[in-house]
Symmetry: C2
Subunit: 104 residues, 2 copies
DNA sequence: TTTATTAATCGTAAAATTACGATTAATAAA
DNA sequence: TTTATTAATCGTAATTTTACGATTAATAAA
């Protein structure tokens, strides 16, 4: 009956950001690669430039990444502070202990 | 250009399941509570019975929970095996190390 | 200055999500 | 058997997401 907690809402925001394989792929790319130029990301994905741009926008909206315009190109990278918040919340959820054996 | 990996796709499936505060709340409830009767879950959420049922269906579809019909009621609980798979994939993603300092 | 490159945004269509009330099917209780 | 309870499903409307091509704005290169 009560409303959701901030924590629950924020977990949902981060989870939603990772709720599409393209965005998961982008995040992994940014974690691994030396470069984070938008064009390179587009090349790695089976999607058009505009669609990739949209996914980048969503990740940016959730706070997980940030973009830095460098001339004609844009350099993306993980926002470490926000990423660690997400890590804390998500791993926190998954590290909760089961209070009882399954009832089902 | 290539397609997504199974891993990326599966991470997205689990993340999508957690991409709504109501479903995060349900999962937390099932992790904490002694009881997991559908009616009790409905009472805890600011949503109608049918909407909660829909969210339960989505969580079940992602594999994270299972339901056991017990007479007129239905008892829900976390699917531990699947939950641990999700835990492994998600915490795996978040434990990836940064290969370089931020470029932005 | 003109041309090319890069990435964001616009416009749009199709599909998916979210929410609800109403109905249904199944079991339990009277 | 009749009535009540529970939860799934149906039907539906509103919103959001996803995807693309086309256009735009900005910078770089010729």
């Amino acid at each position: 009956m009560a409303d959701y907690s901030n924590k629950e809402a924020q977990i949902a925001v981060y989870a939603k950001a990772l709720a599409h394989p393209a965005r998961v792929a982008i995040i992994q790319l940014l974690l691994k690669k030396q470069t984070c130029i938008c064009g390179a990301i587009v090349e790695e994905l089976p999607l058009s430039q505009s669609t990739v741009s949209q996914h980048l926008k969503e990740l940016k909206l959730a706070g997980l990444i940030k973009g830095d315009i460098a001339g004609v190109k844009t350099c993306y990278c993980i926002d470490k502070v926000e990423w660690n918040k997400a890590k804390k919340l998500l791993t926190g959820l998954f590290s909760m202990t089961f209070k009882k054996e399954n009832c089902c």
